[in-house]
């Protein structure tokens, strides 16, 4: 007669199913329950080390166009922060990446930084700070460090200081008869091909497509030929022309602001100038309008009240923005230190 060994009852199956579902549910929660039992300091130090490496040795992602050129509307396209000039130049940082990274109006602490540089599963608190040895530049983002119990790494870096040109206006005074007029044009020539090919090592290269370009014109009050105390100088416009190979010269942009007579705020053009005018083209300004084969001409137009021979090179040749230290202050590296604290 058959017995009931090895037969499963419906009750047992139901009970077993409920047990297994409950067991799986509890088991999946266990890693979360144990997270506070991890070796906290070891984890913090490891995250701090990784964050330091990403910041100091990685240029970030996307690389081309670089992440720092993404404006606030495009910041979701930034996958990873990184301050290195290039991947082949660890510890050499790009100033435009630094300024963008520490921009508190563009990025929110901690969310924007958490998923682009800190990473990890836990909502870490952190502080990233950077300063130069001469204390001229200091940046910081994050919370105030606790007294102890945080992971830490310190990295030594050099920050690239971009080039700039200071032009002494009287040295470019036009004394020819045709120059005795009210309108004067001074042109600065940026030969992208030469700049990018003559020096190929990025820390010492002038890269007009990615870096800030600064042109200071000084001593304009002594650039007259005829002394007329009533004469007034007006910087009326700045026009940028581009010439690509096998293409005609074409106007591509205008630039509408300038720092006048040592002022700290940019003035809109046209503007009256007493002695000097500085124009700062921000990093990436030329990126969209030129390439590595382009020639760029920055044309300054000055107007005078009464005709005079003035600051003008339209009858001679443009001022070359190049690797001559006589014409252009060359890029310089400045020592600094980066600290990352995670808790």
């Amino acid at each position: 007669m058959p017995d009931d060994h090895a037969y499963l009852s419906i009750d047992f199956l139901a009970g077993m199913t409920i047990f297994m579902v409950a067991f799986i549910w509890v088991a999946t929660m266990i890693p979360g329950l144990l997270i506070s039992l991890q070796g906290g300091t070891i984890d913090y130090d490891a995250v701090a080390y990784r964050t330091g490496v990403i910041l100091v040795e990685d240029p970030g992602m996307p690389a081309n166009p670089p992440w720092e050129n993404k404006d606030d509307m495009q910041k979701d396209e930034i996958q990873r922060f990184g301050l290195a000039l290039t991947k082949d130049n660890p510890n050499i940082l790009a100033p435009n990446k630094i300024e963008r990274f520490f921009c508190s109006t563009s990025f929110n602490y901690p969310d924007d930084y958490q998923r682009r540089v800190i990473f990890g599963d836990r909502p870490y608190s952190f502080n990233v700070s950077l300063s130069t040895f001469d204390a001229m530049m200091n940046w910081s983002v994050g919370d105030v460090k606790p007294d102890g119990g945080y992971g830490y790494i310190r990295r030594l870096v050099k920050i690239k200081q971009p080039s700039n040109a200071t032009i002494n206006a009287p040295a470019f005074r036009n004394s020819g008869g045709d120059g005795n007029v009210t309108g004067h044009v001074f042109s600065v020539h940026i030969n992208c091909t030469r700049l990018l090919q003559d020096v190929r090592n990025p820390p010492y290269q002038i890269d007009p497509l990615r870096e800030r370009i600064v042109v200071n014109i000084t001593n304009l009050m002594n650039a007259y030929v005829f002394t007329d105390p009533t004469n007034v100088i007006t910087l009326s416009k700045i026009i940028i022309y581009r010439q690509n190979p096998s293409q005609p010269l074409a106007q591509v942009r205008t630039f509408d602001t300038s720092y006048i007579d040592g002022g700290n705020t940019a003035s809109s053009l046209p503007v009256i100038v007493n002695d000097n005018a500085s124009v700062i083209f921000p990093a990436g300004f030329f990126y969209g309008m030129a390439n590595e084969n382009s020639h760029l001409y920055i044309n300054y137009t000055f107007k005078l009240n009464t005709p005079d021979c003035f600051f003008n090179n339209s009858f001679t040749s443009p001022y070359d923005y190049d690797y001559s230290p006589i014409r252009v202050t060359q890029p310089l590296l400045k020592e600094g230190v980066v600290e990352v604290a995670i808790w």
Binding site: P203, L333, E335, E339
Partner: protein
């Protein structure tokens, strides 16, 4: 006759087996991976800092002059005092302005033509090593142009070859 031989009546055993397999899977998947550096975090931090300091000293700030790095210049001129001051400034500086308390002892390794061997030349130190320090070691190659043999390093180390060569700078670094 039907009996219990060969029958799978141990359903509890099957259930227990499943539970054990699941538990094993859970344990394996929850295992953390520790890198070697995790076990000596403080050593790793010092090594990184020393390595950065040597690298930064060996990177010229500009190409405007000779393109020679500070480390090349200091080594060629056998300027141990300047090496010590610069290296300590580099590795002790912080962003908050406070100063860390790291100490160093540096040696240069080069090929000696008199004995045809690699020789060690003591270059600089900020403290004497007593043996009780927990020091880490960092090294960096220095490109040396000793052509002509008149440099202070050539005078201090008579066996060093008067030519372009690479020397190995070794720095022991510890926290006081």
């Amino acid at each position: 006759m039907v009996n219990s031989d060969g029958q799978l009546f141990t359903i509890e055993g099957v259930a227990a087996g499943l539970i054990m397999l699941f538990s094993a899977y859970l344990v394996v998947s929850a295992t953390s991976i520790y890198t070697p550096g995790d076990t000596h975090i403080s050593d790793m931090q010092l090594e990184q800092l020393g390595s950065d300091a040597l690298r930064m000293m060996n990177t010229p700030n500009t190409t405007a002059t000779t393109g020679e790095s500070l480390l090349q210049n200091i080594t060629k001129n056998n300027d141990g005092v300047r090496f010590k001051e610069t290296f300590l400034t580099f590795c002790n500086s912080t962003t908050g302005g406070s100063y860390d308390n790291l100490q160093i002892s540096a040696d240069l390794f080069y090929r000696d033509t008199l004995t045809n061997s690699v020789k060690q030349f003591h270059f600089a130190h900020s403290r004497n090593l007593t043996g009780g320090e927990h020091a880490v070691r960092v090294t960096g190659w220095v490109h040396l142009d000793l052509t002509g043999g008149g440099s202070p390093l050539s005078v201090a180390a008579p066996g060093i070859d008067p030519r372009v060569q690479a020397g190995l700078m070794e720095v022991l670094l510890w926290r006081d």
